[in-house]
């Protein structure tokens, strides 16, 4: 169970300090797929990087804490400073456009072997990799190929394979299917759901596509301007969205077979400016397990 307490990630522009993540307090339950939605600039990618432990200058953790609820190899609880050692073991990350993250001059099987895994017997690792590849829906020849010989969808499966190989307890997938065609996207998402059910771990999926969230996630998190706007079971959030921003996100998805006018909320909101959506950092439970944040004070300053 990951607990975020008033987390703040900031960076400097000139003399000003901008909070990319501005006070997020959250408990992410184990064993579920949590979706994080929001538009570009809302801080979701930064939040993921913070949880993953990949915050580098000019950004830094300026406030709050992250409790991972994990113990490292030395028996002590893992903190944001030590999370790096857990990469690919207890926690792994599938970045955006990760199909381009594979080393182009190394064969796929060597990317598996090169891992700083616990098993130093390379042959054994290779055997396990061959078994695993099949479960990912990849042909056995894929292991012996170079990345450019595989299609985008296949490379993404390889990335997911690398990320899940050591059965980490937490996987963070940042827009894992954004660059993929819709048919391949469905296959990858189904694969992720399968893996999660088998391994029982937690997956955080960042996506701007509300449809993907509806299909894949158990719980949903909506972010805006560095803060959490709404959080709850996916069913509940879609059936009864509590915050105007969530409603706008859901409304702007046209659906086949549905002839009603879409995007009216987004266009109307534009007139008042986006400040209408600014919220305070605190979340209030309005229904069991369903939280929403209050709108910020008039001038937008945090309470």
């Amino acid at each position: 169970m990951i607990r975020l307490c008033d987390l703040k990630i900031s960076y400097r522009i000139g003399s000003r300090v901008i909070n990319a993540v501005d006070g997020v307090t959250l408990t992410i339950p184990d064993g579920s797929i949590v979706g994080i939605a929001g538009e570009s600039g809302c801080g979701k990618s930064t939040l993921m990087k913070a949880i993953y432990g990949d915050i580098q200058a000019p950004m830094h953790l300026s406030g709050g804490t992250i409790e991972y609820g994990l113990k490292g190899a030395d028996g002590r609880p893992v903190t944001p400073a030590t999370i790096r050692r857990e990469w690919f073991k207890s926690i792994s990350y599938v970045p955006q456009s990760s199909m381009n993250s594979l080393n182009p001059v190394i064969r796929i099987r060597d990317q598996f072997i090169d891992f700083p895994g616990t098993d130093s017997n390379k042959k054994r690792v290779l055997e396990r990799a061959r078994d695993y590849i099949g479960r990912l829906g990849l042909p056995p020849e894929a292991l012996d190929s170079y990345p450019h010989q595989l299609s985008g969808g296949m490379r993404q499966r390889v990335m997911i394979g690398l990320a899940t190989f050591f059965q980490p307890e937490l996987i963070i997938a940042d827009e894992p299917t954004t660059a993929l065609d819709v048919v391949v996207q469905k296959e990858i998402l189904m694969l992720l759901m399968d893996l999660q059910e088998q391994m029982g771990n937690t997956i955080l999926v960042v996506s701007h596509d509300m449809g993907v969230h509806y299909q894949v996630t158990h719980k949903m998190l909506i972010m805006y301007a560095g803060r959490v706007v709404e959080f709850g079971d996916t069913e509940s959030v879609f059936a009864d969205p509590q915050h105007a921003y969530t409603r706008m996100l859901i409304d702007s998805l046209p659906t086949i077979g549905d002839d009603s006018m879409r995007g009216a909320v987004a266009s109307a909101a534009g007139a008042g400016g986006d400040r209408a959506y600014r919220v305070e950092a605190e979340l209030i439970e309005v229904k069991p397990g369903h939280f929403v944040a209050r709108p910020a004070a008039r001038d937008g300053a945090p309470a």
């Binding site: 522009i13 901008i18 538009e39 600039g41 809302c42 805006y224 534009g270 007139a271 400016g273 986006d274």
Partner: protein, 300 residues
């Protein structure tokens, strides 16, 4: 900073929009560039202004007593030919710099025009042009100059040397500009300009060139360096008109009169120091610009 644009995303609302690209040049300044420009400024200004105060034409031999040490009257002393070393050096720097700048202008103009048009227009035109460019690149410049110099020994006028350097030096930069134009050709704003009715020339000047400008500037300075270096090399070997004061010719005469062994170190050391300083200035300016452009691209 409240900007009530209709669908601004939250972060851009908080961060003030970037100022007009050309308005302030503050982003240019970095220590490297500042030092480089200062050196160039001092030497350049000095070489233009000081000759106005020269007491006599320093290239005339036997104007003074020979091999005088450094003194109030002769700041760097005189050499074995009876010339004042300091004034000779000043004129030398001026001539070398002039040559460098003239060559750089010629090379940059030709390389930019050829490279941009070849890269952008493409097709058969490009292939033909690149054939010419590649031929010029493979011709080794120094041996040609040495041969020419040997043939016309000592009668090669200063400007002829410069002209030859332009003719054989433009090709390399043309190739680089062409590859930049090649990659720019595919970018969407080029299509946008086409559909706005712009013709090829307008696109090259208004759309493509601004992106190439940064490189052109750096290339310009590098060419100055290259030209001065080449001329100095020729002069030291004795293949250009060595009566004309240039950085290379001072060294030529100093070597010929064995300045090192006869103890007249100043004669040899002064031009070397001047040359190194000039090159340092050029190098720092060039890499300073490079650094400034790179960091601007990173932020903007």
């Amino acid at each position: 900073m409240i900007v009530d644009t209709k669908d601004a995303d939250p972060v851009t609302m908080v961060v003030p929009p970037a100022p007009k690209a050309r308005a302030s040049l503050l982003w240019l300044v970095n220590p490297r560039l500042a030092v480089g420009l200062t050196i160039l400024g001092v030497m350049g200004l000095g070489s233009v202004v000081l000759p106005l105060f020269a007491p006599a034409d320093p290239s005339v031999q036997a104007s003074y007593m020979r091999n005088l040490p450094m003194s109030q009257a002769h700041w760097l002393g005189t050499n074995a030919l009876g010339q004042d070393i300091f004034w000779f050096l000043v004129f030398a720097i001026r001539n070398s710099l002039t040559l460098g700048v003239v060559v750089a202008i010629g090379v940059t103009i030709i390389a930019t025009i050829v490279g941009l048009s070849a890269g952008y227009i493409g097709g058969r035109f490009e292939r033909a042009v690149m054939l010419v460019v590649d031929t010029f690149i493979t011709i080794p410049l120094l041996p040609i100059l040495i041969i020419l110099g040997a043939l016309i020994r000592g009668n090669t006028s200063f400007l002829t040397v410069g002209f030859i350097i332009i003719v054989f030096g433009w090709a390399w930069d043309a190739r680089t500009v062409r590859s930049m134009a090649l990659s720019l050709r595919e970018r969407e704003f080029i299509n946008m300009a086409r559909f706005s009715g712009a013709n090829t020339l307008q696109i090259l000047v208004r759309e493509v060139f601004p992106y190439v400008m940064a490189y052109t500037l750096v290339g310009f300075i590098n060419t100055i360096l290259f030209a001065i270096n080449l001329e100095a090399t020729l002069a030291v070997i004795g293949l250009s008109k060595v009566e004309v004061p240039t950085l290379g010719s001072i060294i030529f005469w100093a070597l010929n009169y064995n300045a090192l062994f006869t103890g007249h170190h100043v004669w040899l050391v002064a031009p070397i120091v001047a040359t190194v300083t000039l090159f340092l200035g050029l190098f720092l300016t060039s890499t300073g610009f490079n650094q400034a452009f790179a960091s601007k691209r990173g932020v903007a």
